[in-house]
Symmetry: C2
Subunit: 163 residues, 2 copies
């Protein structure tokens, strides 16, 4: 349950693209705008191009642009492009896991975990994030102040259970 640097960098570059008014943006500009490692980002942009999320143009006055309007690219699309499936259990997709005995219903748990990720990541587009208009799903989740706290535990000191 770790969000990779690739995913984070990809989002930041794409958001910069989505917010840009010029038709194309150079890689160099993307890296400096968000202070990302130049060559690494280049690599990530290549993956995004192969996934059909960005388009690129070579040569002088080249650069990158979104392949679709920003309101038609969901965050889930981006995550899948750079990290593969949203949720995997030991390399298996949740619905392919098999459990016996007392763990029989564990599969349903993993499927639900993936589903919960989907409700967030598939309902939000790049345009939403740029405009700061996150979906109602997210607003509902984040309106609870507890969502912003590391991890609160009624019995113990919160500092002991970071999250």
């Amino acid at each position: 349950m770790h969000i990779s640097a690739r995913a984070d960098y990809a989002m930041r570059a794409l958001l910069t693209l989505a917010a840009s008014d010029t038709p194309r943006v150079k890689g160099e500009v993307l890296t400096s705008a968000q202070s990302l490692p130049r060559k690494f980002l280049e690599q990530i942009l290549t993956e995004l191009r192969r996934a059909g999320i960005v388009q690129s143009q070579r040569g002088a006055d080249g650069g990158y642009c979104l392949a679709r309007p920003a309101n038609q690219i969901t965050l889930a699309d981006v995550m899948r492009a750079v990290d593969g499936p949203l949720a995997e259990v030991r390399g298996l997709r949740p619905e392919d896991t098999i459990y016996a005995g007392a763990a029989e219903h564990l599969q349903e748990v993993w499927v639900a975990v993936r589903a919960s990720l989907r409700t967030v990541l598939e309902s939000v587009t790049l345009a939403d994030v740029v405009e700061g208009r996150l979906s109602k799903v997210i607003d509902r989740l984040n309106s609870d102040p507890a969502a912003w706290i590391s991890h609160h535990d009624a019995a113990h000191d919160a500092a002991h259970h970071p999250d």
Copy 2:
């Protein structure tokens, strides 16, 4: 966004413990019941003990048992014990991330991702899973048949976008 073997193994062992009628269960029994690697599970059980989730007894007729009733141990407790924080962005907690420019609202997205994981993992206990009575939160998520499909995309063949 990858569910580790440690988390999976921990769940399976704990579920076996929760379902057991005997007061204590030997490590060997846990491994064979779910066919898990013996020494590796031992290590995981040690982490669970340090986190106060299981108790152990040494010597002949030793073994493991839950430190609390199974309906007072949430899946989130288990995940945190073996994997640390539920969601991190490049080693940072979601609320500690800082973004500039077009990525400004990205922080809220990551916070929402963690919140959505919490709604699933903190609402379900070991007892729930053993009894197959998952919380209403999960039932709602899983009642949508789409939750069980790899990844459906209106335009393309589903097989091309595994998830």
